[in-house]
Structures are given as C-alpha cells and as structure tokens.
Symmetry: C2
Subunit: 457 residues, 2 copies
C-alpha cells in the first residue's frame, strides 16, 4: 500500500539543494528516490544526464488513441538558509497538526507526491487504465532550469506525441478555493550601467563641473513610469492582448480584499496601471521594476566622492503577447535616447522568459481548434475539483513566471493545465516551509478522479 | 644646523595613521617628534589630551605689541592602502630626483616641516625676533577633527589673543604659481532613506501594485537639479554672496585649460552652473551631489525582488553665506514635499562644515576694519612670494572644504592665510604620495621672508 505522507517524508529527507555543490548526495538521493518510485509503479524510467543535474523521463505507454498526459515536476529545492530561523530541522520532516514541515514540502515535493500518489492509486485499482503518462521531473528548477532547453530540443519528438501537460507548481489563494492557472507573466531582465568621469573624484575639488552618474541614472529611471503608474516606454504596451471579460469576472469571484492586501504589504496607497484594480494589474498587466541600484559610497558615515559609475538592475514582467527581446530593445533604446549628455550608457543582458496563456474550454472565446484531450483534461479537472472541494475551480492568470511552461509550448506545442496546491502560508523559499496534508489528501482525490474521468473518455 | 629634508624623513617614518587603532606607536612617535622639535626651538609645548589623539599646542610668547600668528598643521596621515600599489615603502621616505616619497610627505608633513624650518632659521638668526607664535598641530585631521571643537572652546581665550592663522594645507596649481587660498566651500551631508512595502517582495507575485522605493528615490533625486545645472531646491541660492569681479579676474590669470581639464576627468561635456565657467563653478558655486546610492539586489545575475528600502547619500558643497543647517532643512523639506505617495521618507543626518572666505587686503572691497596684522601677513606673504617665485601669488577660493578654518573663525574670530604648497601630482590620499623638494626649498625661503617682514613691521 502506497502511503503518500510516508513517501513525502522520505522525499524531504534527501536534501536536494540544486544550487549547492556540496548537496550532491541529496540531489542524487532525491533523483534515485523518485526514479525508484516511478519504476515500482511500472514506469520505464530514463535518467537523462545533463551538464548539471539529471532529468527523470518516465513513461507508461499504451494504445495510440489513449490520452497522453505529460506530468511536470521538480525534485530540487531551495537552500534552507538561514537555518537558525527554522523551528524544526529543515531536512527532517516534522508533522505539526495537519502540516508537514521541511524544505521542499510545498515546493515541489508535496504537490509532486500528490500527483504520484493519485497515479499509484489509479494503477493499483486498474493496472490496464487506458492512459499514456509521461513524467518529466527536473532537478534544476530552483536555479532557472539551465539544462531544460537542451533536453526539450532532444526529446521534442517524443513530447509532441503527447496531448498536454499537467502539473502542480502554483498556488491556492486559500484552503477552500482551487485555482487552475491559465497564464504566467514572462520576464525580460538586464542591467544598465552609467559612467561619468574615468575615475572616482573628490566632490570638493571637482564638484560642480560634471554630471554625477548617480544623478544621470536617477534622471533616466525617473522617466520610465508615468505618475499614474504606466510604463513610460514608447511601444511597451503595443502588443499586449486585451483581457477577456470572463477573466475579470473570474478574478472578482476570488473576492480578494484590497484593504487586507495593502495591510499585508504594509503600504497605504496602491500604484497600479490606470484602469486596473491592484489584483487585475498583478495578473493582467506588464511591469517595469528596479530590482537593485548601486553606486558610489554605501557604507557608514560619509565619503565625499563623485563616483565614476552607477548601475540599476531592471526587470520587466511581460504579458501575452509581449516578446521579451523586443521589450528589452524598446527599454534599452528609450534609456539611451533619454540619457543626458556627458555620461556613457552600457547594458548587461540577463535572462528572459516568454509569457504564457492558455484559454480553458467552455469560455466564450475558446478557440474551436483546441486539442480535444487538453479540453478533456480541463473539464475533468473542473469536475473533480467541484466534487472534492465542493466548488468549481477559478481560472486565473498569475503574476509570477514559470518560463519553462512557455518554452514547452514553443518547442512542443503542448499547453499546460496547472492546478495550484500550495497556500500563501506554506512559506515557500523561506524558513519553516510546510505542506498542508488536508490539501494533499484532497489534491490526491482530485487528481485521481481527474485521471479516472479522462480514462473513461 | 636644522636640515629640513632629514627632519621630514624622520617625521614620515612615524606611521601616524589616525584612523587605524593599530597605528598607536606611529601616532605617538609623530606627536613626540613634533613636540620635541618645537621644544628644541624654544617653544613651550603643551600636549593637550583629547578623547582620541592629542593636540600639540606650542607657544613662543613676547611683548603684547608683537604680531601673534597661530600656525596650524596636522601630524596624522591617511592610511597607506592599497600597499601593493606603492613603488617604494610607504613609511620609508625615499628620494627619487627632487621628490621625497612616503605617506604624508605632502599631506601635511612636508608643508608643516616647511613652516617649522622657516621658523627655525628665523630664530637661529635672531633669537629675539619680535614675533609671538603659536603652533596648533592636531592628530585627527584625516578623520574629521572630532576633538577639535572641544579643544577650540577650551583654548578660545588664548587663541583670541592672537592676530591670525597661517597654514599650508592647500594646493599649488603648478610649480611656478603660488596660490593664497581665500575661500573654502562648506559642507552639509545627510542620507535619505525611502521605504515602500514592509519587506522585500517577489516581483512576480506583487509587481504592479505598489511604487518601488528605488523608483520613488530616482523620481525624487531627478528633481533636485535643473537640466541646465542649477540645484533645483527653492531658496538654495538665496544667501549666496556675489562673486567679486577681482575674483574672476584672478581666476582668469591662472589660465587653466578647459580641454585639458575635460581630458583629465575623462568627460566630453561639462555640466556647470549656468553663467559660470567650470573653473568658476568649482570655486564660487554650491553643489548638491549624490555620493552613493543603494537598494535591492546588487550582486551578479538577477534577483526578481521589489526591495523594501533604498537610500542615497547626499552632500552639498556650500559657499559664503550659505548656512549648512538651513541648507539641510531646505533640501530635506524639498525631498519630503516631492516624495510620491506610498513611500516613507527618513533622513540620517551626517556632519557639516561652514563655508569660509577671507578678503585679502588691497582688493577694491576690502573691509576697512580688517585687523592690521592680518593685512600685514597677507602683504608680507605677497611680497615674499613675489621675490622667491618671481611672480605674485594668486588669490583664489578653492572647491574643497577645511571645516576647521571656518570653525576657528567662528569661535575665535581669527582669519587664516593659506599658502598652498602641494602639487596636483603629489598623489595626496593615494599610493606613491610625494613632496617636491624644490617647492619645499622655495616654501621655506618664502615663509622665512614673510615672517621676517612681519617682524620688521
């Protein structure tokens, strides 16, 4: 008998911190644990080597007319630092009430184990269930999936044969309401460097004759938003898709409370794209943010220097159909055009990610040509959620980014059905991460029913 | 026989780095060396203890109608780091051509020894020379003279009995031209801190609803200058004294080359107060500079965070008659008034210094009530420079700040005659500091002749 909680505990004990070269044993342990588990369920497991951490590619074949679902997940976790803030050992799973504590409990070991447990139950009940299933479990999600694109290119043909992707690596707003995530923002990141004089200068001996690069940088950055809250870069919004009325309706059903959100953030005023509520702005609108700024003397006391250099780290969150490369070019061109005389502008390119959107079926403007199995997975998930949680899921775009979802779509054509299972209080990427075992139990039941419905046709 | 170069070598060997707690022996050695030297010249030396490094207060008394000149200098030096950039050992004085290398050679051990050597020669020739002299040599100049104000208050009565101050801790523009510094800029320094949300936020999950404090800071800083180069703070220039035409004339005689200066700085465009050349702007106009800025993630790569905080370090160089406290208040009030909604503004006050100006005699608008001895020291210095260097000195204000000069004026009423002796190529505060011994020789001759003239009446 498959005990999901015991399996999850075992999974958590492998300290699979992908960014830490000293965590090799934990990475290998977690990989072998998942591979072994899938093998024990009858999957043909292929451990795909990469330049860093191997991917697990595990298949259960079948008849060509059976639905073929790819299940995505990751076996790596964030570092547990700062360790002194953990109330229980980070890699010793600890049950407190209905919560299991440990690094990775919610991101992504718990949600992944939820799906595996549902599949285990399904196959135990009916070993001949008419479903083709492919697990795709990576070990580099927490470090930006550097090996994923190469893997995707190599396995593209095998993946194209599938119908869609199913995963759980997004959030629930609360314990009562399941969300199926229908969109993710993209990313465009780069640094801007401003150089003035060729070296740092004494602000007494040379102050008053040249433009300080911190001043120039501030003057440039200050032009990039309107006072009302739009990004002030010509062309920035040109390709942004209109939000469908059903999306706004769906968001309204969430019933989020602006006052409570402002209190949570600790602010007294929102600053959002005009025409959008804060919650709409988060999910439907692109942003241009300054993630960091630096220049000159930052220590205690004073140093009367005119620095030679200053820089800022810029990131844009993008929405469909903005293209990251085009947005980078627009913002860089704008910065160059607005730079005052007397300073030099340089850019350091960073990474990027395409935005993603999938329109669920049964929405007024669902494309008629949506692949039938994708539509069936959406419907089966909808019904299963409705039965298990007593209310239908909401279909919402999310403000965050999972760049591989758009990458899978770009390379293989496959869309993703994303069922959220972690809660805001689960402390992802923070000390005292935990997973709610009531949510896990309901998640297993939901996933089990979803696949059963899908198999039934 | 007093050998100034040998004495200077001995002085340099004491590694008197006032900021370095490990340099206690060097500090004490330098103090005892100077005290001993002055004692050997017949001065009554008082080593005045402070909370940190003692001051040397050394007096040669005389008749009440003899001129009484206070000679200021400092026996401490900057740290020698980075040591690996020194071509000769920093605290082992090394003669190369006509230059003596070593930390402190030019700042301030060489110029101070120049004055002491001139006094030694004077007293050797005429032990009864009718001059009262007070040396005031501190050990904390390189760390902002923290003990000086307390000392000044305690010794104010003794100092008020003097006629003026004479010192050499400013620059020569080149080996041919002596400058008597007639003004110094003041300083007003503080930090501004901007706070947005109560903690750092994920830029995906929360981007698009609040004003990033880096953005707010940039928007505030960008308002503080006009595109033309004036400080854009209401009232900032209200009390600035007009520049006398003779001051502009004097500066023109310096014949500085704008193209060469731009090349030295490595810039292609000056950005100065409208109506002033770069050289005038430096010496006659106030500034508002950003000495540092920081916020959010500044490391390699990216971190998609909306930081909770950002800050900037601001310093104003002030000219007569701007008051540091009033200017701080104006700038802080302006920042508060221009801060966008949704962020909190806090200030951390730093130090300040009054601007200083002294009008030499024989200028069209010299106040008629200038103390006669001050006027005589100016005239004597003028004549001595003219004889020894073959051309008269220039009377120029300087862009830098020596806050104790204004502080001495404020507390004791004494003005200062500042004769520059270090050259731009002397590498003050940098590796391979040196002092030009030809300048030293001419400086001794000049100072000797100045005091001799002064004594003659």
């Amino acid at each position: 008998m498959f005990d999901p909680v015991e399996k999850l505990k075992e999974f958590i004990r492998h300290a699979s911190v992908s960014t830490d070269p000293k965590a090799k044993a934990g990475m290998q342990g977690a990989q072998e644990f998942v591979s072994g588990l899938l093998r024990s369920l009858g999957f043909a497991v292929d451990v795909v080597p990469t330049d860093l951490h191997p991917l697990i590619f595990a298949q259960r074949g079948g008849q060509p007319d059976w639905p073929h679902v790819v299940i995505y997940g990751h076996y790596d976790v964030q570092p547990a630092d700062p360790l002194n803030l953990w109330k229980t050992p980070a890699f010793e799973p600890t049950l407190v009430g209905n919560r299991l504590y440990g690094r990775g409990a919610a991101d992504n070991k718990g949600p992944l184990m939820t799906i595996i447990a549902a599949i285990a139950r399904l196959l135990e009940e009916d070993p001949a269930v008419p479903l083709r299933l492919t697990f795709l479990i990576e070990g580099e999600e927490e470090i930006g999936s550097p090996s994923f694109p190469k893997f995707l290119e190599r396995y593209a043909d095998k993946l194209r044969a599938a119908d869609c992707v199913f995963l759980s690596d997004t959030a629930l707003p609360n314990e009562q309401q399941v969300v199926l995530t229908c969109g993710l923002r993209g990313l465009a990141l780069f640094d801007v460097h401003v150089t003035g004089a060729k070296g740092d200068l004494h602000s007494g001996l040379h102050g008053g004759v040249l433009r300080n690069p911190i001043q120039a940088l501030a003057e440039i950055l200050a032009t990039l938003h309107t006072p009302e809250g739009r990004v002030n870069v010509p062309g920035f919004y040109d390709t942004v898709l209109d939000v469908h009325p059903w999306e706004r309706d769906e968001l309204r059903k969430l019933g989020a409370d602006e006052k409570a959100y402002a209190d949570f953030l600790g602010i007294d005023t929102f600053y959002t794209t005009p025409g959008f509520t804060p919650f709409e702005s988060l999910r439907f609108q692109p942003t241009l943010e300054f993630n960091g700024i630096g220049g000159g003397y930052q220590g205690e006391g004073t140093k009367t220097v005119i620095p030679s250099k200053a820089f800022a780290k810029i990131s844009c969150r993008l929405v469909p159909n903005q293209e990251p490369d085009k947005i980078k070019r627009l913002v860089m061109d704008t910065i160059r055009a607005r730079a005052p005389k007397g300073v030099k502008i340089d850019f350091v390119d960073q990474h990027k990610g395409e935005p993603y959107v999938v329109v669920p079926p049964d929405r007024s403007n669902t494309p008629a040509n949506q692949p039938p199995v994708l539509a069936r997975v959406f419907r089966a998930t909808h019904e299963a959620v409705n039965e298990v949680w007593g209310r239908p899921p909401l279909y919402l775009r999310e403000g965050g980014s999972v760049p591989i979802i758009a990458e899978i779509k770009r390379v293989t054509g496959l869309d993703s059905v994303m069922m959220g299972l972690f809660l805001p209080e689960d402390n992802l990427h923070a000390p005292n991460e935990s997973f709610n075992l009531d949510v896990m139990r309901k998640g297993i039941e939901t996933t089990y029913r979803m696949f059963k419905r899908l198999a039934r046709g």
